[in-house]
Each structure stands twice: as structure tokens, then as C-alpha cells.
Amino acid sequence: MGTRIVYTRDLFKFFGDVVALDGLNLEVPKGICGFIGPNGAGKTTTINILLGLLKPDSGEAYVFGLDCWRNSYEIKRRVGVLHESPSYPRNFSAQRFLKYVSQIYGIENSEKRVFEMLKLVGLYDVRDRAIKGFSAGMLQRLGLAQALIGEPELVILDEPTANLDPFARIMFLDKVKEFYKDYGVNFLISTHILPELEKVCSWVSIIMNGVIVDQGFFQDLVSKYSANVYTVETSDPKLLARELEKTDFIKNVWIEGGKIHCKISDLDQFHRNLPAIASKIKVSIRNLQPQCSTLEEIYREVVRNEK
């Protein structure tokens, strides 16, 4: 793993009786990283702790090796953030708002930087319009501009594509990729929309009930979760599933969405014997593939294991 830019150890956070973080051990390397988990898993709480907005009850949290609560000012100089459902001064124009933000970041030629950002996110033509007249997509692009204006080393995006239509989502994530490639900006993206995330991220951390249940490079996770779970598409799933249950190289078989899912104990035997079993009972095999080849499938598998 490359240099860790975000690191937490045994992080706990309580809101009254509710355990928001239950010993979170998060690691984020350089690059574009996904931070995924169900609603209420603790993603936003973690982000708020990383920005020094919340104080952890116990444990450690570091960004760029700096303590998140004690050195939040220094961290925020190097980090840009787009919060979930963000709010900006409604009566300001986009240009005016970004000018104030750039001045806060201490950008020397703030006017030039504001224009650059407005052009980059496609808001240049509406720069004088009051923010209250912006659509959800425009607000999200303004959010990206304000997160990037301070020339950050890391940008944290909390549900950045939640209010966007599919086309705008793709555009948004393309911008993210562009920033990583062209400017070397690292991203930590918390989202529910996994198919799009998997196209851009190299690292994934999965959180459930305030705990990191798994994390690693995307390709490593694919290998890990594909190693013993396969999906079989066949002409008669019930019949084949019954036959497979009788074998000793398969731990578990279940049918979901008209497909057979098998948890395999001996992969060699499975590949050797499956065609023979199928031909014996006269069913055809249409497709055979590792179950977890996408981020969504990995996520489902992790959630299933946790449950």
C-alpha cells in the first residue's frame, strides 16, 4: 500500500446511546478511494471527525499525519470538502462566493483562480446568478469548485452524486478522474452509487455499523471475494442446484434471481466436475463467472457475510 493520507485507529464516537463509530480502523492511500456502506453506517461521522468538526470519544484520527481535532486548521488548508446536501449563501453569486472562499484559502490571484474554477465546472456563464437560483446539478458543481479552489491535496466528497441524474453523475466522476490525472489531487468519495464509483476508484473501504469490515485495492477485493463464490446461469437452476448440493467440493448453494450461486471449497474439482454433472442431468450451462466481479457484488457479499 502507498503512503497513507488518512488513518484512524480504534475510533469511537457516541451520540447519546447511539454508537456511531465502534472502533473504526480506516486507511486511505493516495489515489481515488471509495468509502462505502449503508445509511447510518458512520460515513458522514467519520468525515466530520477527519475535518475536526466532531471530536472522537476515543481513538486516533490522522490526515497527512496530523491529529484531526488538534490540527484541524492545518488539515483544512490541505483538504477540500463537498458535504452531503451542502448549503451556501443563497444571495451570493457563484463568483462572489468563490472569491470569498479563495481569499480564505489565501490564494494570491483569487480573481483568476475563481474564473478558472467556474470554467472548469461549467458555471462560468451563470457566474453572476444568485446561488438560490441554481439547480441541484449546478449546486453540486459549485460544491466541487469550492472544494477544489484552495488547491487541496485531498478532496473529500460525501455523497457527491446523490442529487444528480445519470448523465450528470458520469460528468461529475469524469471531472474527478481528470483532477486526479492532471493535478494529482487525491479523492475520498463516500457514496451509495457503486457502479459509477468502481469506474474511478482504486481503493475501497467498506463500513458497517461503525466498523470497517473490509478495505483494500479494488482488484485485490475482486480476487478475494471471487475466489470461492461463482454464479452459474443454466437452463434448469433447481435441478442443477440439487445435484451440486450432493457434491463435497461445494460448501453452499442458493438460487437468487434465477441464477445459481455456489460457495466452493475446492475450485479445481468444481471446474473439472461441473460440465460432467450438467451433461449427466442434461442441463446446459449458459454462463459461469465469479460472483464478485463488480463493486456492487463485493459490497453485497460483504454485507451478507456480516449479517
Binding site: 451520540f15 468538526l53 483544512k76 481569499q103
Partner: protein, 260 residues
Amino acid sequence: MKSKRKIKNLLLWEFEENFHFPILETLTFIAILFLIGFVSESMIYYEISGLIADTAVDNYVGLSLSGYTLISMFFTGFLFARSIAGKFSNGEMKTILSYPVRRIDLILSKFFANFIVLYLLFSSILVFDAVLTGFSVFSPLVGFTLLSFLVILLFLCSISMVISLFIKNEALSFFGFLLLIYGLEYYVFSKEPYSTYFSISQGSINIAAYLLKSYYSGKVSLFSYITFRMFLLSLLFQISVTIVLMLISFVYFVYFLEVD
């Protein structure tokens, strides 16, 4: 130096927000209405006596100062609820706190931006009122009135800020502030003899009137009922409460506030 520049930026941001909101139009409209009322009353005195008499001074300090103090309570509560509590409830505070700003700079800029707007507005109305009544802008009467209003406004702002910070809800902060202030006024006036130094409207009169009385040292017969004790207690009460509440607000905002 950088910190000073950031405070300046934050102050400008806050001023611009205040000036974008139609609060100023609202304030000016209401202030003009009250001004017309007070001026017409003053003019009656002027016409009867034919000169600027003690009655006019009494009227200015007793009615204008206390009247505008009462109106300013309403707007102080409104402005702070909007710029602090409202920013918590709509999420803007989280956005601003995610930028590299020191919390102390942010809270100071919010406090002083609101205070300056309110003071400039109400003090200009007080000066305007004085001029229309026939007093010079540079008269001790206007000076002491503005000084007294400055103390009372700081007091009101500090109460409003602490309420907004702890309640974090715009409407609740506003009504909570009004309830507290008008409750205090009601409590003070229900006392027999009432403790005027705890009253916001009477406290400001005590300060301005006693200073005026001392300045003319017996040359005028006005405000003979206001003693040094009343003046001192009014001043001490307002200043000490202001300092304590501001310290509570700053310490809470800088060291303990968590934004979720």
C-alpha cells in the same frame, strides 16, 4: 497578519450577507415609522415652550433611547438567530467551518459584523431624531445617548449570541431571546420599588441621564431621581453580563462545539 486578513474577509462576508437580506429595508421602514412618532411628539414640546426645554431632553432620553432600545432588542434577536442559529440549521456553518478559518476569527467576525450593522443603524436613527428635535449632533446629549446605546447593544448582542449558539435553531433562538429579554423587563417592572438597573430600557436611561446630569453638574433640574448607585449598577450589570456571556460563547464555540 494572515489571521487579520481572514477576519477582514469573514467580516466582509458577514456584512454582505446582512446587506443582501431585506432586513435593512425592514429595519429602516420600522425605524422611520417610530421616528415619525417620536419626532411629532417632540415637536409638540418644542412648539409649546418655544425653545429646547428640559422636557425635550427628558423626552429624547426617556422616550427615544428607551424606545429604540426596545426595538433594537427585536432586531438583535432576529439578526443573531439568522446569522448563527440559522447557519447551523441550514448547514452553512458546517460549510464555513470546513474552510481553513480559525473558530475564534469566525465567531468574532459574526459578532462584530452584526453589532456594527445594528449600532450604525440605530445610532444614526438616534442622531437623526436628535437633529429633528433641535439638538446639535455634537451635543453631550447625543454623545451620552450613543455611548449608553453602545453598552446596551453589546449586552443584547452577547445574550442573543449565546442563545443562538446553544439552541442552534433560528426560530427557537429568536423567540427564546425575546422571551428572556421581555421576561426580564416584566420581572423588573413587577418589583416594588423596581430594580431599574436590571431593566434594559431603564438601564440605558440611567446611564445616559446620569452622565448628562454629571456633565451639567446641577445646572439642569432633570433626572434628579437618578442616583450614582443606579448608574453604577446599571453599567456594571450590563458590562459584566456582556463579558461573561461573550466568554462563554467564545470558549464554547472554539473548544467544545461539534458540528454534525
